[in-house]
């Protein structure tokens, strides 16, 4: 598979009242086209900062991020960020949200595309609903559909399902896997949930505590659908948790 994203020696330090706060330190890795890479690490280690830098919302102090060989300097619809807290516009209906990023299409095409993706994520019948009329899971679906409708090459997902209850979290993971089997996207998923990472990812990168460096990389060799209770998955989970400094017996 050709390389899609290259992160090369990036370094990021924030300025604060207490002095400089180094967050990312000499991070280098690459993501192949169509690959789903999960980034896990201790809380506050800089996972979200890393995602912001890759998505072009923030610039590294040193180093380079390239997408298809071109330097990433600003966000674009080539890669859509799905944030932890959600960003579905509450003053627009589901359909209007989905149509928001569809520039250069005729109105009728925009509506058709929006309705198609609303149906794809299971929101058929809710096209005219506003955010406050939807459940947490439905909001996540709307956010996912709004990202997919512009046909991005990359999805940047920042703990997208962390606010959902365990059951809905599991449903959304399966939903994502189903969509990714229908449409090809490169995905960078930031999560603190090791099990979620193993469930979804082709490869898992473990970051160290702040300033984040790349501590370990694990391939996830299991085919989908993955049985989370299988021995192989459990062993991988233990190994990743060990890298994160967590005693697997108490995890």
């Amino acid at each position: 598979m050709p390389v899609k994203i290259v992160v090369q020696d990036i370094k990021k330090t924030f300025r604060s009242d207490k002095g400089p706060l180094p967050v990312l330190e000499q991070l280098s890795f690459s993501v192949c086209d169509g690959e789903l890479v999960a980034v896990v690490g201790p809380s506050g280690c800089g996972k979200t900062t890393l995602l912001n830098v890759i998505a072009g919302f923030d610039q590294p102090d040193q180093g380079l991020v390239t997408i298809d060989g071109a330097e990433k300097l600003e966000p674009s619809s080539q890669g859509i960020l799905i944030s932890q807290h959600g960003s579905v516009f509450p003053w627009l209906t589901v359909q209007q949200n989905l149509m928001f990023g569809l520039n250069g299409h005729a109105d009728s095409d925009r509506e058709k595309l929006a309705d198609h993706y609303a149906a794809m994520v299971g929101l058929k019948g809710f096209e005219t609903s506003y955010a406050h009329e939807l459940s947490g899971g439905m909001l996540k679906r709307a956010e996912l559909a709004r990202a997919l409708v512009v046909k991005p090459e990359i999805l940047y997902m920042d703990e997208p399902f962390s606010a959902l209850d365990a059951l809905m979290n599991l449903r959304m993971r399966n939903e994502l896997l189903r969509i990714l089997s229908e449409e090809r996207h490169t995905v960078v998923l930031v999560t603190h949930d090791v099990e979620e990472a193993i469930h979804l990812a082709d490869r898992i990168m473990v970051l160290s505590s702040r300033p984040a460096t790349l501590q370990a990389v694990f391939d996830v060799p299991f085919p989908h659908p993955r049985k989370l209770s299988s021995r192989g998955v459990q062993e991988l989970k233990v190994a990743i948790l060990r890298e994160l400094g967590v005693d697997s017996d108490s995890a």
């Binding site: 919302f57 960020l81 960003s87 516009f89 003053w91 990023g101």
Partner: protein, 252 residues
């Protein structure tokens, strides 16, 4: 029935206050201060000879004109100040300096500039309601959650589209709050202005009723009508909060 149950405590307190007022006037045998009933008959008198409607119309015309003029200036100005940093840093100190000046303090200047007529109170209403609306609108833009602006930027839409489809609707609930405050202040100011510089309106009715033979029944009647119209105007503004486009702000 449920509504009546909710209003019952307020109605009870109101009835007790009216009864106490009546009792005090009767006990003190005041010849100037009216009983509630005299206020009712005074109101009837004003309604019958048509004077009341003329005064209400005059006050509402001034408030309507000054307020709408202020909305037309304040909302675009507030949006601009909220969206363009340079506009905010340039204009905000001026607004912050002018804002604490009581609208009443502008009366001499209003008369000097516009003379005695409708233009003066309209100017006063404009000047008094523009500040809360500018401040609220600017703050509405400044407090838009970053995640929405980032999402819009992610879809690569133009800055004009972000302004039209994100900034304005996101700030709308606060714009409405500013309009409510602005209209409330406008209603306060028109009465004060009419007391000093005009020969019509509810403020003038109060002063004229006192000057023309101590008709305190009419003074109090005008005061109550001012209160009721103020309540009505606020109710009208609150209807805007029911708009589908802003309900998200009040949900959950």
């Amino acid at each position: 029935m449920q509504r009546l149950k909710r209003l019952l405590p307020s109605l009870t307190v109101m009835a007790v206050l009216i009864a106490a007022w009546w009792l005090v006037v009767v006990k003190t045998q005041s010849v100037i201060f009216p009983t509630p009933w005299q206020v009712v008959t005074g109101t009837g008198e004003l309604m019958q000879n048509g004077v009341l409607w003329e005064h209400i119309g005059a006050s509402l015309f001034r408030v309507g004109s000054g307020f709408l003029l202020a909305v037309a200036f304040a909302v675009p100005l507030g949006l601009w100040m909220g969206w363009v940093r340079g506009a905010f840093t340039t204009l905000n100190p001026i607004f912050q300096m002018l804002r604490p000046i009581s609208p009443i303090a502008w009366i001499p200047i209003a008369i000097l500039w516009f003379g005695v007529g409708n233009a003066s109170p309209i100017f006063l209403i404009f000047i008094s309601s523009i500040f809360p609306m500018v401040v609220q609108t600017t703050s509405g833009v400044h407090t838009i959650e970053r995640r929405y602006l980032r999402a819009a930027a992610n879809f690569g839409v133009s800055r004009a589209t972000v302004f039209r489809r994100v900034v304005i609707p996101a700030a709308l609930p606060q714009i409405i709050v500013g309009m409510r405050i602005g209209l409330g202040v406008a209603w306060l100011v028109v009465v004060a202005a009419e007391m000093i510089a005009l020969r019509s309106g509810l403020g003038f009715l109060i002063i004229d009723s006192r000057n023309a033979g101590n008709r305190y029944d009419l003074v109090i009647a005008a005061m109550i009508i001012i209160g009721l119209i103020g309540l009505l105007l606020d109710g009208l503004m609150r209807l805007l909060e029911g708009l589908k486009a802003v309900q998200w702000r009040y949900a959950r």
